[in-house]
């Protein structure tokens, strides 16, 4: 499979694909990832907050059956393999986007797969917060809503950024998978050119580009998480 990888003919082929397909594929992967992360946070952040504030003894206790239902739904969605998730939400994708093929269409299953994950990450971030700080806010007469938007979320920002970075890199991996069933981006290039047409050099390059993107997102995320944390004294 990897013999004669750098045969001049193959390098020329790969260069052709690299020149014509890859720049756009990088862009597709980039925006599918960011768009899906954005929508997943939009859904996952409030849901994660609800998981923390709504529990028994939380600042806004919700009925136990509701909390149980939320937890079951999240666990269910999280246990569906992503490849099958794409197929399962096809009708929804058609309903929202109008088509089930292409990069934009892949944002729908990506969002559905990622938001329960994000909800769990938000939940764990918010649980790190010292409960005494919440009590202090209550002692000053804060409403539950004020506690959420003025205490819980702002105080958890560094941890939330770290966790959202984990989510972005995971979603980036999913976008590559969506290439198998109609999605665009680097995953599609790796599969269509690299795997199906035996251009392994192309596949290798696509994988390396994905790795670079993950590194980039991770470094940026770590940078912002550290920068935003006012608990670190050395600044």
């Amino acid at each position: 499979m990897f013999e004669n990888l750098f045969d001049p003919r193959k390098v020329a082929e790969a260069w052709e694909v690299l020149r014509t397909e890859v720049p756009f594929a990088i862009w597709e992967t980039f925006y599918a990832t960011l768009l899906a992360t954005f929508f997943a946070i939009l859904l996952g952040l409030p849901l994660g907050v609800l998981l923390v504030v709504g529990e028994k003894g939380g600042i806004l206790p919700l009925p136990a059956w509701l909390m149980k239902t939320l937890n079951v739904i999240i666990n269910l969605l999280r246990s569906v393999p992503f490849l099958l998730m794409i197929v399962l939400v096809l009708p929804l994708t058609r309903l929202i986007v109008g088509t089930s093929v292409g990069t934009v269409a892949s944002v729908v299953p990506l969002t559905i797969a990622a938001f329960p994950f994000i909800a769990r990450l938000v939940e764990s971030s918010l649980r790190e917060l010292d409960p005494n700080v919440i009590e202090a806010a209550q002692s000053m007469g804060a409403t539950p809503f004020q506690i959420i938007v003025k205490v819980m979320i702002p105080e958890s920002v560094p941890s939330l950024i770290s966790n959202f970075t984990i989510a972005i890199t995971t979603i980036l991996g999913y976008t590559a998978m969506s290439g198998a069933i109609g999605g665009g981006g680097l995953g599609k290039v790796a599969l269509n050119y690299g795997y199906y047409r035996y251009k392994y050099l192309v596949m290798l390059i696509a994988v390396i580009l994905l790795i670079i993107m993950v590194q980039l997102f991770q470094s940026l995320g770590t940078f912002f998480a550290t920068k935003s944390d006012k608990r670190l004294k050395h600044k």
């Binding site: 010292d130 005494n132 700080v133 009590e135 202090a136 806010a137 209550q138 002692s139 000053m140 007469g141 804060a142 409403t143 004020q146 003025k150 205490v151 702002p154 105080e155 920002v157 560094p158 935003s228 944390d229 006012k230 608990r231 670190l232 004294k233």
Partner: protein
Amino acid sequence: MIELKHLSKSFPTGDTTVEALKDINLTIRDGDIYGIIGMSGAGKSTLVRCINLLERPTGGEVLVDGVNLGDLSPAELRRARRDITMIFQSFNLLMQRTCLDNICFPLELAGVKKSEAKEKARELLSVVGLPDKENAYPAQLSGGQQQRIAIARALATEPKVLLCDEATSALDPKTTHSILELIRDINKKLGITVIVITHQMSVVEEICNRVAILDNGTVAEEGDVATVFACPATDAAKRLVFPDSADTANLWLAHENERILRVVFNGADCSATPMIASMAMEERIAANILYASTRTIGEMVYGNMLLGIPNDEETVRRATAYLGRSEKVVVMEVKQNV
């Protein structure tokens, strides 16, 4: 005025319930610095949280200026909490906000305009002696400075009552002293009633005028600090007055022909004076040191001492007068109530 009437609180734990507070009755007058002292697990923290209803009492009433807090709607209770603010052992500042924004926080909650809130916060930074920490983050401050910011935050809504939940327990003696001075200042200058929860005798001795001894969820003794500490009637009170497992019964038996004076040093400037020795020489009174726990902070002495004085009315009077010459030294006779 704060009145606690037949206050009780129990927590269900599995099949049994733990009664944290049993039939508490206390009256705290305006302008008091009221100490609530007790060992760990006596129910102090639960009691203080019942005063602003962070914990809902399971029985009884909390009346603040005649208003029963239990009758208030959630919104009314939140408004009432601006008048009864709180500081904590672990300070509980918002770590991602600057000091100024921390002090603005309760005003922000109350819907005060931002510019007004900032002006008020700057004023309070000066009150607590940290005018240059406006843009610092709490993590950049020492424990004592963080507690000062927390005090400024608690004062922002111009409360009538300040609750201090073990506010100095995480601080070293010197810082404790300066924070207590700040609290006393606030009490005097702003006329704010202060309720101090602590397990440290020294804190009560230093700033409180009244004290309640909490033991196993009940008020064992209550009254003026001098009275309660001079004649501890209950076992719980004696355990606090004679700490370090001083065996009270034996103490009395061993000194049958002596009377006991309790000498409390509240920052007396006498670390260089050998008080007991000079009393022996000048007044010819041989005092027997039964117990002593004093510490020197800077030039000042804090702590207390139990002295055995020969059983004679005149001698006791003279010893009391001699030792009590400094206003920072309080001398009282400890009566035997056995």
